[in-house]
């Protein structure tokens, strides 16, 4: 039950907020709700067994019997931290937007909670259609968030965001449906259960694009690639980030992008192992290009937020690289980097939002010398910058190191390309840092009429958890990796006949618990 | 093959009148009516063209009925006639209503809805 509660509690919160009569107590209420949700999600640890790669805390109920669609929630090491990341970021986001969002507050808070449900659901749903439902649902609140509370070109950005993501996901829907028909032969009835999908044995023909597994692979991969976003599909991201309000940017960068990489990890790679192997180079290539490209373009951005957005492209390139390295280092690093990116980029957006609140400008050239005026802000920004450029002892380093190691092990040329990202990452971040914080006071900073105030206690309270996480994850990665180890080992070692099982807890289960040994027969070899 | 057909067709075709003749006649009337709908701008003439089309259909029904020996075809015609009359009534009522409003029955004046 705890998973259901974690997934759907935010919706309940959203409803309560929508009908809450008192406008002045809305913010504390919502913040309290978010904290409750976070505490509840911590409860997962009580039942979570890090030693097994099995699906845990499974809840499965028949939903649409005709198509074998079920209400199917489950958690394993891959999704655990992403769920936690979501619930962790939400209260921070709410606290961070305490003063910046004043208009249509109810709608905003409700959107945040609906979004939370959608994101957690995406990470926990183990049924393709159920997953797709959350996947698409997440677009709507984010669409509103950008569109209503966003900047000047918000409408352009939000529609671009929506349509880009939609294009990818509808093809995935077609692929999902097709696979549901395929399950008929394996489990005897149509099924949308991911566990049944894993049992599929889809014929693969190397070198032929129009072959079944390849097409399905690309249908899934495209959806996730656009969300990630992978290099040629990334242009929605800077626009969305720049226009989104701070909380929107934080959630978008912090969690929503992870939905793409999570999808690759959970769906694309284990479902289509041969195709993933065969086309892995392509994804490593675009990942590597993304790293360099994102960094180079970030370097010349005049807008801080855009810079951070392009840095996201670069960082997500690492994750892609790690995932398609197909070894433990890459996969672990990729997963870890998802969390890191959530923390560091989320915090960066929060910081940018804080300064934007003060000056109403994000133009780098108008700043300068901030370090002398806002020391605390500078320190926080600097720490997060360090995390972002993966300085050791911060979280970013662990992820990036493992990814690069995995990549080097898998495919050296890509590691060489990716390693330039280490340098370029420092270049654009520090360059920006120099321009904004060092040097003489810029026109905004020196403005006598609007003296800038350093961070207040609320803002510090927002940033402190992030900074703690930065160092905690950087110094004690094993605290986190211990939980993911079993799952990732299982994923990497059994990639070509990946299966998940679980101990059934209720009667209405429609999935057999015994895994069929499809890997040993059939076309897979 | 084709030459022989051309040589023999005319006499047969003219002398032995059968179902195809009626069908061809009906189709000619039908397309004439269609052409009327497509070409004439007067709303009433368009409606008349539609009536012409319906009549052509009737002819085809009756011809089938006759040559297949099925009375149902005539029943169909009966129904079609009634409906055609009803259509005409409604159509003319509409045209009158439009005329009252626009003082015009040329359809080129009814192009407000477009795009």
């Amino acid at each position: 039950m705890i998973l259901s509660a974690v997934v759907f509690l935010p919706i309940v919160f959203a409803l309560v907020i929508a009908f809450w009569p008192n406008k002045s107590t809305l913010k504390p209420l919502a913040f309290g709700f978010a904290i409750i949700e976070f505490l509840l999600s911590l409860g997962i640890f009580k039942y979570f067994d890090p030693a097994t790669a099995n699906l845990q805390m499974v809840e499965q109920y028949v939903w649409i019997e005709r198509f074998g669609i079920s209400y199917f929630l489950g958690i394993d090491g891959i999704s655990l931290w992403l769920v936690l990341l979501t619930t962790f970021l939400t209260p921070i986001v709410l606290l961070g937007s305490w003063t910046s969002i004043d208009q249509k507050l109810k709608g905003f808070l409700a959107s945040v909670f609906v979004l939370q449900t959608a994101m957690i659901g995406t990470f926990l749903a183990m049924d393709a259609i159920f997953f797709y439902l959350f996947w698409e649902l997440s677009l709507v609140p984010m669409y509103f968030m950008i569109g209503i509370w966003g900047g000047q070109r918000r409408i352009y950005a939000t529609i671009k965001f929506f349509i880009y993501t939609m294009i990818g996901s509808v093809l995935m829907l077609v692929a999902i449906i097709y696979m549901m028909f395929l399950t008929k032969d394996v489990v005897g009835h149509m099924s949308a259960s991911l566990l049944d999908f894993y049992k599929l044995n889809i014929p693969f023909v190397g070198g032929q694009f129009f072959s079944l597994q390849t097409l399905l692979f690309f249908a899934f991969a495209l959806a996730f690639a656009i969300k990630v976003p992978v290099f040629p599909f990334h242009t929605w991201l800077p626009d969305a980030h720049v226009e989104a309000p701070t909380p929107g940017s934080v959630i978008l960068a912090g969690v929503m992008l992870k939905m793409g990489t999570y999808g690759l990890m959970r769906w694309t790679i284990p479902l289509f192992p041969e195709a993933a192997d065969y086309w892995g180079w392509l994804f490593m290539l675009v990942g590597a290009i993304g790293i360099v490209y994102g960094a180079l373009v970030a370097m010349v951005q005049p807008d801080i937020k855009k810079l951070v957005a392009y840095s996201s492209v670069s960082h997500m390139g690492y994750i892609l690289l790690g995932l398609f390295a197909f070894n433990q280092f890459g996969a672990t690093g990729g997963l870890y980097q998802m969390l890191n990116h959530g923390i560091s980029t989320g915090a960066l957006f929060l910081l940018v939002g804080m300064i934007y609140e003060r000056t109403h400008s994000r133009e780098i050239s108008k700043y300068g010398g901030l370090a002398g005026v806002l020391p605390i802000f500078t320190i926080c920004f600097f720490i997060i910058t360090l995390s972002s450029i993966a300085v050791p002892m911060t979280n970013g380093f662990v992820g990036e190191f493992l990814i690069l190691l995995g990549t080097y092990k898998a495919d050296k040329p890509f590691a060489f390309i990716a390693v330039t990202g280490v340098v370029l990452g420092a270049v654009y971040m520090l360059w920006m840092f120099k321009k904004v914080f060092f040097g003489e006071k810029g026109e905004l900073v020196a403005d006598e009429h609007h003296p800038l105030h350093d961070l207040n206690s609320r803002e510090i309270a927002v940033l402190v958890p992030m900074i703690i996480m930065v160092f905690w994850m950087g110094l004690f990665p094993n605290h986190f990796l211990d939980y993911t180890k079993a799952s990732i080992d299982h994923l990497v070692n059994n990639k070509n006949n990946y299966e998940l099982t679980y101990q059934p807890t209720n009667q209405s289960s429609i999935t057999e618990t015994q895994s069929l040994q499809v890997g040993s027969t059939g076309v897979r070899q | 093959m084709r030459a022989r057909k051309v040589a023999h067709m005319p006499s047969n075709f003219i002398l032995e009148v059968g179902l195809p003749h009626y069908l061809v006649l009906s189709s000619l009337l039908f397309v004439t009516g269609m052409a009327g709908v497509l070409l004439r701008r007067n709303a009433i003439v368009m409606m008349m063209s539609i009536e012409l089309m319906l009549n052509a259909v009737n002819l085809s029904f009756v011809a089938f009925s006759r040559y297949l020996g099925l009375l149902e075809g005539q029943v169909m015609v009966f129904f079609v006639m009634t409906i055609a009359a009803a259509e005409a009534a409604v159509g003319l009522a509409l045209v009158v209503a439009i005329f009252k409003r626009f003082k015009e029955v040329n359809i080129r004046f009814f192009e407000h809805l477009k795009g």
């Binding site: 180079l296 370097m299 951005q301 672990t332 370090a371 390693v419 180890k485 | 795009g115």
Partner: protein, 644 residues
Amino acid sequence: MNHQLLMSILILSPFVGFLINGFRYKKHSANLAGTIATAAAAISFLSAILLFIDLLGMPAESRKISVSFFDWITVADFKVKAGFLVDQISAVMILIVTGVGSLIHLFSVGYMHHDKGVAKYFAYLNLFLFNMLLLVLGDNLLVMFVGWEGVGLCSYLLIGFWFTDKEKAAAGMKAFITNRIGDAAFLLGMFVLFLTFGTLTFSEINALIPQSPETSWLGAITIGTLFLFIGATGKSAQIPLYVWLPDAMAGPTPVSALIHAATMVTAGVYMIIRLNPLFLMAPNTLMVIAIIGALTAVMAASIGLTQWDIKKVLAYSTVSQLGYMFLACGVGAFGAALFHLMTHAFFKALMFLGSGSVIHAMHEEQDIRKMGGLKKYLPITHFTFFLGWVAIIGMPPFAGFFSKDEILWMSFHSPLGHVGLWALGAIGATMTAFYMTRLMALTFWGKSRVPKDVHPHESPAVMTIPLIVLGILSVIGGWIGIPHVIGSILPGHPENIWEHWLSPVIKAVPNLGHAEASQEWLLMGVSVTLAAASAALAYHFYVQDPEKPKRFAAAMGKFYEVVYNKYFVDEGYFAWIINPLVRTSKNIWFYVDVNFIDKATYVLSDIVRGGGQFVRVLQNGNIQQYALYIAIGIVTTLAFVLMR
């Protein structure tokens, strides 16, 4: 005492200092902040001494204090512990780092007395110490890398300490980014080593190395060590990544002394020494290291001949001296490298602090053309600086002589060495003597060119005490490594303690032949004579006939211009790497993102919209047109279906 606790104190004491001063970042009291920081450094130094004493108490073969705190990263067979190791090498290093560090902290109290950000300054300094200790103590490459990046970070912070000056902030950034290039290679090196040996722990790597040297250029060890060496060139300012170090002089002078002379910049050398058995198995890499080291030594020295900024001269001197250390590593004389590292730490820290004292006295003036004759104003500074000077130009029996001589000798004598390397080294030494003498002459001797409004005065005691201590060390520091040929003629035949101490952890150069004492004497004599002669020449140039250098420079013409402008390396980097990169970035952003990908999307949407417009035109409101569509539809369908 418990080693773990001792180690914790050693490492964490500066960190605690950092935290305390960090949270007091707004405070202006230099005394309090300085006391805290210096105390933290001193506690660290004490622990280091205690550890060292423990180490001494152990039998020579198993001199090793290894402490592991927790498992840091564990993924599959990649297991890295937060483990620290004190052995003969790192023991020397921690003593240098904490000892010299403590002195420089103390010096800073005086030097930074009037600075508003003094608490911040000391926090950074302590943080640097912490990171440097991590670097030195780490028992595996990854922990070393933590410190490696950490010290780079602190260097960045301290170079850009006066961040309101754009130039200084830029210098910090330059340092960090240049270092990052090296770090990226360091990462790759680690990957190669991990995938080759399955571990990153020094002891395990050194245990797993193959028996015979690897001759191929593409062998894993060669490639791995080359990558590590590129990493070292970044940190230790070697060609081609040395450019950041002269700019790093933008930071406060004690920082230059600590970070950019004594400790951090030697990290690359230290890393190579740490992995000496591995490097020995990669003769190709060693060759590269030796050549790069020698070239750097000469090139930096030549630039040093022309500079007017007191700190820039010292900076190029540092680059040059680091070149010597690499030369030593490259010829397999790791012990000599570490030895020079240590003596260099003494005399270069001394000289930097001395220059700091001068600058302090001159009210932040760094141009030596505006000094001269300071000897009478700053007697202590002058005296200690003098000691540093004789040490660095390699005059026996000062510290620099022993270490540099050892390097030169080995570069000639070692099977990995070459007479050419020796020649380069000797040329470098000659130049060193020249520019150092020039520096002495222009600063302290001769006529005063001090502007009228500046009244130089001797520094307070907190600043002179460290100078004195370091001066003493510069004199006696070399005596622990007296070569055999000299030792044999000295009374009491002092042993080469240094070699003896290091022998368990430093592999000797294989196939080292027997050396003729006369040969060694000869080379020693040549280098000392050259140095002395060039020092005399410089004295003549800058004290006796100050017009000569100008004439000489004019005679050299273009060549002087090139050298004076540091061979235009910075400009070259800008012209060929940085500017093109920025331009490319702008272009790809503009052409790929904005004008291609987005345009393509727009074109797509325009096509869709165009389709909409087309349908809209067709939907012209005319019923007959609509009926025509129906007719066309029917005709097409009929034709399609019936004709098939």
